[in-house]
Symmetry: C2
Subunit: 268 residues, 2 copies
């Protein structure tokens, strides 16, 4: 079995992939998009990619790719994220900070407070940020302790996330639909017809059948300006009668419906 | 009157600010957060910042800042975004591309097709990207024609956005609440109480009073993990009886309510 992750090595995705699939061969991909394509094309059996951080919010590329590509969610995993501030330069010499967009979002208050004038350079992953900081004087990175070791960087400060309980939710992507039996969460995505109250009418079906909607998130449809797709998470799985009935009714009010899968959280 | 924008010079925010306030003095800020703080502290009268792109989706920093800071929306403006591919190097020598995260999101298919192996470096604005590309050989930028002129870069390709009708919605931020009279849009943000169906119960008030909800978007509350704030746009203004009644009922089901303002779109 081969498992893809958002690389380079020592990224948080790598850490999550190690914890979920300790004994499988791992392969780093340069972007979320490439990690998902590799699953679609059977180059790997699964890919482990971030979908949402508790402070920074959704990883929007992941949401968009789940719609565009023929893949499904087969499980999820929560990883505590403890960002550290890494550099081989002196604290007061640092004028440039590398991180992933989410690293900046999750440490926004800390940066404004400590380095309000630093140039912030967003790169594809925190491990890439660590690598770039290693190569450049007077630069630092916001990344993991794992990356500090991997790239021989000094930890200048620990626990710099604005929220002390910062976590990222990862999903395991597969090109086959899960068996829903026994799973406790279902994710769907849909667009609504262009008429007033259409979204309300669509989600009213959950209320009617007693289905608990735990999350709703919108993204551009990428088909028509200012038209949206809605990503909804539900408690339960698609073997349950009330969920099946609600989804059937929902589809009368919506278009472009996709069931992303029923799945559970992996505990390690 | 002084108007702030997300800089540096020649950014799309600068272009929007020029169109909305052609005769006022302009001041560039290094981040959305600084542009909003300047309004809060009365250093500028207004700031013009992006809130949403038709392809890339919400500018999440803007949403978070509208909650955290004591500011309001006083108008909105739609700017067509025509990204171009800029460099002073040869097409086949380019191995690094600078842009804003939204520039990458809006040209994702084009990049995957033309430069699948290029290193993508996200910076704070497309105009910053143009400046960095000007300074570095074999690099390119995804930015505006306005930035091409400003930084003396050659346009290697035009119209590279995945959607040919790509637009960004900008908001004008003020530290005073607008008079709602005559305005056609109202934006609010709220959290819901921690019980099943709470979000549904909250937005049911719009249905009951015939208020059209045109958008719903969620963001982390930044107070508790996996708890959300919902940003909702409504047709109409807060002098209308049905909107007042719906908002009153909504507040019985929600917490942390903020009225971001009733406002209209500026046409130029």
């Amino acid at each position: 079995m081969r498992v893809g992750f958002l690389g380079p090595k020592a990224s948080y995705s790598h850490e999550a992939a190690q914890k979920i699939f300790p004994s499988f061969e791992k392969k780093a991909f340069d972007s979320i998009s490439l990690a998902i394509s590799a699953v679609e094309k059977n180059e790997v059996d699964y890919s482990v990619i971030p979908i949402e951080n508790s402070t920074g919010g959704s990883i929007t590329v992941t949401l968009d790719e789940l719609v565009e590509k023929n893949v499904f969610i087969s499980s999820e995993f929560l990883l505590p994220i403890n960002h550290v501030f890494l550099s081989n330069s002196k604290k007061n010499k640092i004028d440039k900070i590398y991180s992933h967009a989410q690293g900046f979002a999750q440490c926004r208050n800390w940066i404004e407070n400590k380095y309000p004038k630093a140039e912030l350079i967003e790169v594809q992953s925190t491990s890439k940020a660590a690598q770039l900081s290693f190569e450049e004087e007077n630069s630092a990175a916001i990344a993991s302790e794992f990356a500090a070791k991997e790239f021989s960087l000094t930890i200048l400060e620990k626990n710099i996330s604005d929220s002390k309980s910062n976590e990222t939710r990862f999903v395991v992507i597969s090109n086959k639909e899960n068996s829903p039996q026994g799973k406790n969460k279902t994710s769907i995505v849909f667009g609504v017809k262009d008429k007033p109250g259409a979204l309300f009418d669509a989600i009213e079906s959950f209320k009617r059948f007693g289905v608990n909607m735990t999350k709703i998130e919108s993204r551009p449809s990428r088909k028509k300006n200012w038209e949206y797709l809605f990503f909804v998470d539900l408690d339960g799985n698609t073997t349950q009668k009330n969920i099946l009935s609600a989804l059937k009714e929902l589809q009368e009010h919506c278009k472009d419906f996709k069931n992303l899968g029923s799945y559970s959280r992996v505990k390690t």
